[in-house]
Subunit: 280 residues, 2 copies
């Protein structure tokens, strides 16, 4: 018996909670990332291919890449909406888009678009840690939900290239609050750790316009994380190339995180990220 | 013109979001603390003496003490309710209670009580940083909302005594994501930093039954925080006293946090906390 299909686009309401906002009363990017992951979770659960269905079957979604581009961040106490939809699905990867806006896009109110997000997900078997064929879930049900018409006008995640000038700028330890239900360092915590590389004073004069992150490998509580940063323009590109591509008011950084596990001295890459700030 | 009074007890619904849960799918205490602060905020805003009214008047509530005692932590995806009410108000301090439960206490459903909280708040002038007479707000409106009958059967915060055996166990730096809208380290972040002192393996065998924290002074981004821990029974009390008061299956720790600000070598106490674990 075939169930009736829901709308392809899901829409979820969130509040920019006061204690989730930064010094300037703007929602922290990490908390926004968390809201996007929640929206993805609600959307896929409602449609039958979410964690509620997968977990008892020893399968799980794994976030592979996330890119978020903002025109403005919701302010403290702002109610906002996250729309999310699946843009494409292949055997081992699916891409999901997000739109962050001030009202439901039904034309009833003037809508402010805060920004957009793009993400790539894989499905794995939680016992073997091997990739799972996404179409094996409910006979490829996810294909019924692919929405290719709705615009998401931001660049997809790029392959972040690190040059030779990446500098080790911080080493941190990982603790109880960093770890999620899978026993891994939580995706959102990496976002916070990356953005913590920039000082409060830097945020006072710069707007975080684009954030992207690729999850390369898992890390666990007790692992030591090393952060390498390279400013774009300082590295691979010549001064001239950099000045052509990046107007003066923009600053871009590539970040690589590696882990060193307890009782080990092998350094393994776990995350690559790229952040783009606009001078205020 | 006198406005109609609302109920003395406010009730707010929350969701134990999957990414706010720990390795065992139980809500992190820090996120629960955040929900209690939100409930306090919503309750006081709805009744006319909240931050929405105070902020434009250069006044703010400051959390002074918080104690949370749990029988069980909400599980991932659990919907739960936080009831909150003002138990007493004096010129410079007010005490606010919390009940965390699985359904609204209207008798319609079997109610599971997860736990309770008790808190103490002061009001300050954000310009002078001096205490403000709480009764100066709307002619002592808060007095109309004092609820003394509703039970909150947990001990109030105690004065946490540190003995001579407190040991410096960790030093951390503070970053962008630690700081709230007042420019201070966020109350919830201290909770997380305290609970991060215990290893994931410790949480696998122990249940955090009671958490209490007293905010003594403010710290700022860039401050270095030092964590001192003393196990109760190892310190001030004799072995015999300790074994009479604490059954074997309970472990209690007192924690003191101090700050050392940038370009300073003066160590100033900012937080005292006490945590009580029950062996599983």
């Amino acid at each position: 018996m075939k169930q009736e299909l829901l709308d392809k686009v899901g829409c979820y309401e969130f509040l920019a909670e006061p204690f989730h906002c930064d010094f300037a009363s703007r929602l922290f990017m990490g908390h926004l990332g968390n809201h996007l992951l929640n929206a993805a979770d609600f959307h896929s659960n409602d449609r039958g291919y979410g964690m509620n269905y997968l977990m008892p079957r020893h399968k799980t979604w794994v976030l592979s890449r996330l890119a978020i581009e903002m025109q403005e961040m919701p302010k403290s106490y702002d109610k906002f909406y996250v729309e999310t939809w699946v843009e494409s699905a292949m055997k081992y990867f699916t891409s999901r888009n997000f739109k962050i806006c001030s009202s439901v896009s039904d034309g009833s109110e003037a809508e402010k678009v805060y920004g957009y997000g793009k993400s790539v997900w894989a499905m794995i078997d939680t016992e073997t840690r091997q990739p799972v064929d996404i179409f094996s879930i409910h006979d490829g049900l996810i294909k019924e939900y692919i929405e290719t018409e709705k615009p998401c006008p931001i660049a997809a995640s790029s392959r972040v290239k690190m040059g030779k000038n990446a500098e080790l700028v911080r080493t941190i330890h990982t603790y109880y609050n960093d770890v999620d239900v899978n026993g891994h360092i939580n995706s959102v915590k990496y976002i916070e750790h990356v953005l913590d590389l920039f000082d409060l004073d830097y945020y006072k004069t710069h707007f975080l316009q684009r954030f992207e992150i690729a999850y390369v490998a898992e890390s666990h509580q007790g692992d030591q994380l090393n952060f390498y940063v390279e400013k774009v323009g300082d590295g691979g590109k010549t001064e001239k190339e950099a000045s052509v591509n990046e107007p003066q008011k923009m600053e871009e950084f590539c970040i690589k995180i590696t882990k060193i596990s307890q009782n080990s001295d092998i350094e393994v890459e776990v995350v690559r990220s790229k952040v783009k700030f606009i001078k205020k």
